[in-house]
């Protein structure tokens, strides 16, 4: 067991898979020599050499297309798109190419690749380098979508993603790179499509993803200490496949549901989960499900504005308390 940053967990997770399988290759902008703009891939070039760890031009379509062509023909590429906002310039691959080739070819073609990307706000980068875009990907049949919240999950879910035979979009949160967590020694392999109960509780279920997980946990501590409300926090971790059993099981125990989402409100992942719960567990609920989200706005650059845009610990506490007391 050792303490590791989320940033270093990325490099360790990739290295674990590259050591295991020489068909795993890694490409992206500034990923090799520079070690990534977030320093999340430092040391990979030195360890695996320039044939397996490759810098690319600023050509997101070329990066995505090359990863796909390599995946179709036998490699297991990990491609980095520096900021998830840049998905918009290579969205054809995410929406039309990776997820449809297997279906359209009636199973003749495969696309086993991982796209990892820096997602989310908190860096004061403004509207085009701060978005949470996991819902852009969640809606597309054929993709798998994960978003780890801690260093151990980064390594385990990276391994699961690389070993998965389908295209996986791997959202790393920029504001989590500096955070630390305990990580076991040796190989870590997790399972896609599994949520985790990050904090057990009996009064309400709070679902959260990525950066919202530590905030939900802090809010749960406060709610317990200051208001006697005992919340269960579920780290959703994997949007596709979605672990509805863990979510429905939690709601069946607590009878209340809150989602904490960094994405702007419309069509956020929480909307889909609320609809599933309404459909399948309506009579388990003792009150209306509540979504706590960023408003329907582009993100501002100024810190005091960005800070109030995202769900904060205090906002979560306030919203849960009001709802539970009404």
């Amino acid at each position: 067991m050792a303490e590791l940053t989320y940033r270093d967990a990325v490099a360790r997770g990739i290295a674990q898979e590259m050591e295991r399988d020489e068909d795993v290759v890694f490409l992206g902008e500034d990923v090799a020599d520079a070690g990534g703009v977030f320093k999340a891939t430092v040391g990979l070039l030195e360890k695996f050499g320039p044939i397996r760890v490759r810098d690319t031009p600023i050509s997101e379509q070329a990066i995505m297309g090359a990863a796909m062509g390599a995946a179709m023909t036998g490699l297991k590429p990990i491609a980095e798109i520096m900021f998830s906002d840049f998905f918009a310039v290579c969205f054809d691959y995410i929406a039309n190419e990776f997820p449809k080739s297997r279906y359209m070819s009636n199973g003749q073609l495969k696309c086993p690749l991982v796209v990892r990307t820096g997602n989310g706000a908190g860096s004061r980068f403004g509207a085009q380098h701060s978005q949470s875009v996991e819902n852009w990907c969640m809606m597309i049949p054929g993709l798998k979508v994960v978003a780890p919240s801690n260093p151990r999950d980064v390594i385990g879910l990276m391994a699961a993603a690389v070993r998965d035979p389908d295209p996986v979009i791997f959202f790393e949160h920029k504001s989590l790179y500096a955070t630390k967590g305990e990580v076991p020694d040796g190989e870590i392999v997790d399972t896609l499509g599994t949520a985790a109960i990050a904090r057990p509780g009996k009064d309400a279920t709070i679902l959260a993803l990525a950066l919202m997980v530590p905030r939900a946990l802090a809010a749960a501590e406060k709610l317990k200490a200051e208001h006697g409300i005992d919340c269960e926090v579920v780290d959703v971790r994997s949007l596709v496949p979605l672990d509805t059993q863990t979510i429905l099981g939690s709601v069946a125990r607590t009878h209340r549901l809150f989602t904490v989402e960094e994405n702007p409100r419309l069509c956020g992942w929480g909307a889909e989960i609320v609809s599933i719960v309404a459909d399948e567990a309506f009579y388990d609920l003792d009150g209306p499900p509540v979504r706590i989200t960023t408003p329907h706005i582009p993100l501002p650059a100024a810190d005091i504005l960005e800070d109030i845009a995202l769900p904060t610990v205090d906002r979560i506490v306030d919203r849960v308390k009001r709802s539970m007391n009404s």
Binding site: A62, A66, N96, R102, N106, G107, P141, P241
Partner: protein, 343 residues
């Protein structure tokens, strides 16, 4: 610098020159097959047996035949939505292609892909892509795998003149040159991007060849209606790619005899243009060349009759084939064979 002229004027020492009789007969047979199959596809959609859309390569057969004949097993083809000819040219059975166009269970993808997405991995046809430009970077990736694995296969990416004005074209060319990938980019310039003359929307005269210099590549502009020229040019590009010397960009001048798609009567063409190009119909040009080389009429007729029978038999088999079963709707979304997104 290579031009149309010097590639066309390669000395011909009779039929057994650098190309040879057997290859020439193969080139002719391939072009006749593509012509007959595409004409049949057109007839079948007039009968409403081909649904959806359909983009024919009538008039452009020499490019597909020339490249496919120069390919070795293991080489990979990446096609566009105008991909019937390139798919057939790799040896995919006519019945499988027509069956897919007719959206029957005997089709290449059992009706799940349709005319614009023909794929036959076992023949090296790694998909037909209907988003302009998307497959150029994908072909780069397949070529990267060949480079990484040290295999000698080459990825060939076919596209139209309209593709040269989309970003992915430029990203892929730069990328392929920088990584020195074994990939061949083949532009079929048929003068029209859909309904609009390519010249009226392009900054340079030759949409692919005139861009080659920007990527440090040789300018290659060839007569795409002459299968010998296409075949020789392809062989040079394959040799370069297999030697590890990187990509090629080849612009083939050609002309489609039909409209852009089934919905297009091609009324935008100036009067007489189609007729002028039909004088240079690649099948006609090649038949005359075989005769000049002394191939007798009987041998030529035997090829044509054989191909016609193949296309006739395939047509009948497709008409008799069932529609796909309804449970196919949800198969192969994910690698486990199904479409489950939750537990």
């Amino acid at each position: 610098m290579a031009t149309v002229e010097n590639r066309a004027q390669k000395p011909a020492a009779g039929i057994n020159d650098d190309i040879g009789e057997a290859t020439r007969l193969e080139l002719y047979r391939s072009q006749v097959l593509l012509r007959e199959a595409e004409q049949r596809a057109f007839d079948l959609f007039l009968q409403n047996l081909v649904k959806g859309t359909s983009h024919l390569s009538l008039g452009q057969e020499a490019v597909a035949a020339g490249f496919a004949t120069a390919m070795k097993p293991g080489d990979l083809s990446f096609c566009t939505y105008r991909g019937h000819a390139h798919t057939l040219a790799r040896g995919v059975p006519v019945e499988k292609v027509l069956g897919e166009l007719m959206q029957r269970d005997n089709g290449l993808m059992r009706g799940k892909g349709g005319s614009m997405h023909l794929t036959s991995a076992e023949h090296g046809v790694m998909g037909s892509y209907a988003i302009i430009g998307a497959h150029l970077p994908i072909a780069c990736g397949a070529a990267w795998r060949a480079q990484y694995k040290g295999t000698k296969d080459v990825s060939v990416c076919f596209f139209g003149d309209g593709t040269t004005n989309i970003g992915a074209f430029h990203e892929a060319l730069n990328f392929a040159v920088v990584w020195k990938l074994p990939v061949i980019f083949v532009c079929e310039n048929n003068l029209y991007m859909e309904y609009t003359p390519i010249a009226s929307v392009t900054a340079v005269k030759q949409p692919a060849a005139d861009r080659a210099a920007a990527y440090g590549l040789e300018r290659i502009l060839i007569d795409g209606n002459d299968a010998d020229v296409v075949y020789r040019t392809a062989q040079d590009a394959f040799a370069k790619a297999r030697a590890g010397a990187g990509p090629s960009l080849i612009e083939c001048l050609t002309y489609r005899h039909s409209g852009h798609s089934r919905a297009d009567p091609a009324k935008y063409r100036p009067e007489g243009e189609l007729e002028r190009w039909k004088e240079r119909d690649p099948v006609k040009v090649y038949r005359e060349r075989l005769k000049q080389f002394g191939v007798d009429d009987k041998a030529i007729a035997a090829i044509e009759n054989d191909v016609r029978k193949i296309v006739d038999d395939a047509t009948e088999a497709c008409k008799a084939a069932p529609m796909p079963p309804l449970d196919l709707l949800t198969t192969d979304v994910y690698a486990d064979g199904g479409f489950a997104w939750r537990n």
